[in-house]
Assembly symmetry: D2
Homo-oligomer: 371 residues x 4
């Protein structure tokens, strides 16, 4: 019952096998190897266009290098106030970006809205030279709240950015979960919807440690190679990063692993709702945010369940936590089994049937599943 994060899972078998296969013989380091070359071609096929790809060992590196490349040090990156790169990366983007500024917007369900972006860009002071200059709009897909931007939403946001000269960055640490849910092509999900640069994650999806920064306009990547190197993110035995991604993309592995994680989240949320628990935010990818009482929390943990209490600044607007409650984040992964979920839900059910809710009990205010 390990729902702390999808990075609590190990390595998916096909990816681990790929490491063994890539271990044959010698290969030049730093990406000058056959696996990397094959992977680059594969990425072009997957995204249906020429791309410039830079593999790195962490999602934080991918985001920070991408933003530092897109924004000048006096640039502003517009993003959701609760997104991973604004809250969970210890200022990596500010560091790599020479002191650039993240401008976090509020928005329901972890999403920035077109109206909020438009308003923020229209009002307030920018440039001139007293103020930083808006340079990038960064969206997280799926969001930190486990929701998914629809294509319409994405395109509207990208349109605003484009009209004002901002680049569009997508943090796709879990992009596969969105693709699996939306049933659209990688191209539609990204550059065809206006995304300029993508941080594409494989680690949470089943790799050991492999993320990619993908420029849909390769000419924009000039200097990125040096930026990655001096960031310490050019892994010497690069073939092993490439091998992970190659396996990830082969036979739609990334999509099937993600689909499994999504399904587990669906089942988990359905069972918890059935147990009378309140789910906040729609469950659209592989994350379930659920209100649990302290008493249930203790029982779950006593039974070995692992998960984090969600305590960021970015909370759902339309729910109220009782004094006796907390908001738990449950993340499923390719490795989550239905039996774990049943066990977890059973504890929740037992708990709920033996207790009477206090004054803050209410019907779930936000609970629709995606799709």
């Amino acid at each position: 019952m390990h729902f702390a994060s999808d990075n609590a899972a190990g390595i998916a078998a096909p990816i681990l096998n790929a490491l063994t296969r890539a271990n044959e013989g010698f290969a030049f380091g730093y990406g000058n190897d056959d696996v990397t070359e094959r992977l680059n071609r594969r990425f072009a096929e997957v995204f249906e266009r020429e791309v410039a790809v830079f593999l790195v060992p962490s999602g934080t590196a991918a985001n920070a290098l991408a933003l530092a490349h897109l924004a000048p040090p006096w640039g502003a990156v517009i993003c959701h106030e609760g997104c991973h790169l604004a809250t969970d990366e210890c200022g990596a983007s500010e560091f790599f970006g020479g002191g650039l500024k993240l401008v976090g917007l509020k928005g329901p369900g972890g999403k920035v809205t077109a109206s909020a972006v438009e308003a923020r860009l229209s009002h307030g002071s920018w440039g001139g030279p007293h103020h930083v200059v808006p340079a990038v709009l960064s969206v997280t897909q799926p969001t930190e709240a486990g929701t998914i931007y629809g294509l319409d939403e994405l395109r509207e946001l990208a349109g605003i950015a484009q009209r004002r000269g901002l680049a569009v960055h997508m943090d796709g640490a879990r992009l596969a979960n969105a693709l699996a849910r939306m049933n659209i092509t990688p191209a539609e999900a990204t550059w065809r919807s206006g995304v300029d640069v993508l941080s594409l994650g494989a680690t949470k999806g089943g790799a050991l440690a492999a993320e990619a920064v993908i420029f849909f306009d390769p000419s924009r990547a000039a200097g990125m190679s040096e930026r990655r190197k001096r960031g310490g993110h050019l892994v010497s035995k690069h073939r092993f990063l490439a091998a992970q991604f190659e396996a990830f993309l082969t036979d739609d592995l990334w999509l099937s692993l993600a689909a499994h994680a999504n399904t587990m989240a669906d089942i988990l949320s359905a069972r918890l709702r059935a147990a009378g628990l309140r789910i906040v935010w729609p469950v659209e990818a592989n994350e379930v945010f659920v209100v649990v009482s302290h008493r249930l929390d203790r029982r779950l943990r006593a039974a070995g369940a692992c998960y984090y209490v969600w305590s960021t600044q970015s909370q759902p607007d339309d729910y109220t936590l009782g004094e006796d409650e907390l908001l738990a984040r449950l993340v499923t992964s390719f490795a989550t089994s239905e039996s774990e979920i049943k066990r977890f839900a059973a504890i929740a059910s037992a708990q709920e049937s033996s207790t009477v809710w206090g004054g803050t009990l209410s019907l779930p205010k936000v609970s629709s599943d995606a799709g």
Copy 2:
């Protein structure tokens, strides 16, 4: 009728004269001169304790160097969302601080409140190592809204910071205006109220270009000398910066110049209110924020008045701008004359008596003068 900023004024005569006096003969550069030595002693007297002082040519430099010295690159600086260093210094603190993060809080009248600071520090995620670590509380005195923190407010804020291990920084670009208004000593206004490091301005108060970073615990300043130098902020003919400050502090010049500016703001706000205009935020220092109609705005500018439309994100909560209105910031200085004010107010009065307010007319919602 130049109310754009107090930096639109020139150099106060005693300070200009001091430059001429300091121009006698030769002197070692970089602060190894008699004027600087005298000034350092003078600062110790003024603040009633040993201090470490670093003169720099701009307020942005003072703030950014101070914060970079107090916070590690992974540190967070808690401040008001509308304060100068967060909005008007083009990311200087982020740059000097190696990518530190400014965490802007909302608060009425440009002030951070104890409860907001307490709440922000208590909730959300800090350190660990995914999140930045709160390192500094920065307050602006007077604030960007022209209001003044009372000593009680300051001490409460400083107490919170101290208990949580944060340093307290004060941006005192206009500190003299607060001192003149509050009638307290520099020591009371700063370290006796919990301030660790002060950015003290002289430029807006009547100097050519002279600001100081003052450490009330000199041991905390180790390395600051190198930090200033590599920031390009160690002026070679340093005696001329010192001379400006020496004159500024002699015979309470700084206080009398500031008192004049404050008085001018009082008169200006009184006359504008009398003319039926709405003043937002209490006028406690040398800034008046007033709602004017576009028509009046045009007449004032046609008559030669200079001022800025206030358009930051940090707006008064409890006022409503009509479609036909804007919020003007009027700043008075040591050089402002009462005749200018009368002329300005006369235009406002004429305008108002010849027009009828539209639907959004209401009694001023925020209008109490300080003291």
Copy 3:
């Protein structure tokens, strides 16, 4: 015949197996797992003292994070002008260190000498605040020239550093090769000889991607956790980095793999010398620098040999390259086989016996093997 680098080798079998073992079940990310905990204890045993260890995915990251932690932005790092972090890491240390300065010294065989360090620190201008302040002495063990500092040399250098308040950093990307050759304990090779912080490599020695920054005084590591995170170097599925190191350190695997690489270098250099080629710099670890004619170079490459032409600024003083010659670097690894070496040397022998050296032929000037 792949002698381009030891990073051209793959993953040693026991390390690859360890990845599979570590793949059982779920584990918290970011180092909060059992493998990491075990590894930390193991490091304390290996180094015979409490240590603070930070795993990262690249040697560049290890060096840059270590130096940034030991030196202020206005600090100078004294090192050999040709060392890896000064020449091959694209300015990573300068970037992570906020613009710190690497001061490269000349020295034979890739080593800084006590006299050169002493002279550089004694003369010239430091601090004050116009000049940067010497903060770290960084030595590479083995050096980029494939030589090894003796313990006497190390201790003398560390003594100079200590007396002047500099920290001592060791870039030990190939430290195992030095340990294997010197037959001393890790403790003797490092902190007992005055090293404060070690970049310890496993990647070149047989891992996939695993390096460690080791603080021998854990109190000095405060903040390092945040520094690593914001550098993007905290790998989420951290157990897999820990597992690599655990296998590396188990049953002296690191030493036996390194000993093999060293032996291969010995054999290679002996055979090349026997073939009449000039070896520059003593072969003390797993690198052989040899002068080859362009004609031989072409034959070797035609036969499939891989190696780099050594063209850095840091060349041997006492050798002369003929117009028709180049300096080749040959690196052996745990994966190098004696048959490859024989094949390579056979080509060299055939070549040399069929040609007459031009005017620059001379007896090898530097050719003694180590120990």
Copy 4:
């Protein structure tokens, strides 16, 4: 007898007067004033082309901002190993440049030579992405050794840079001294000789604190305004920086003040040579480097003379300091009087006539005056 630096002089009278004149009335801050507008036009006349000018309060700021703008963080700046920005600015360029690398070359008389630049760029490793990328050639005119690049030298250097895609930066903190000596136009001395960006100093020449970064191709300056602001180098009462420069450039004041300083250096060096002292490096601008015995040093200081002992790494190649000697740097300025020089030289003469040189006495090895 203050020869410590030309920044030991005060403010030239016409410049001080200009401050007073500029003090009339109010003016918008940050360069939106009439004086600045006039100055910009004046600069275009002086340099015979459209230029983009950024005034800053220190030479360190000018250099660091210029280099940071011309080089990416992974760029290398080729310069003389002893130039001011490499040795006396505490790493400012590395800081502002996000960790860029200064590559210092040796060269006689403080000059980089075409052959050294060519060699450094041709050999060694650059880019790729393991190494930094040569981005700027920076020359100091006059040099730190008080010598002057001839136009032929400049053009040859600039040609090399251009052919390899490097920008050419000139540190002209004392450019007026070179212009006065060479009797050429500012345009010839700079962009017509291949200089792309100039740091032009007024402070050492007689201003209070005023330096300029001048882009000869204004399109290259995009973003520089923000860079200056966030560096804390946009002085709010900007008219007073502009006024200094305006006076400096009016009626060739800069040239006549510099010519005086140069003449004083000529007289000083002639008298010292006549007294039997060895002058090292040609005296081509306003600096005299002279070997003095410790005994003479004591007598001079006892008589009130001020100067620095020259102790950088960058020493003349072809001179030998006796144990009893030191190398003194004497800098003259617009404020130096001939009587001071006579007094100084008289002490030197008296000393020398009453003593017998020790074993290291030799005829001056480097002693030709310029022009």
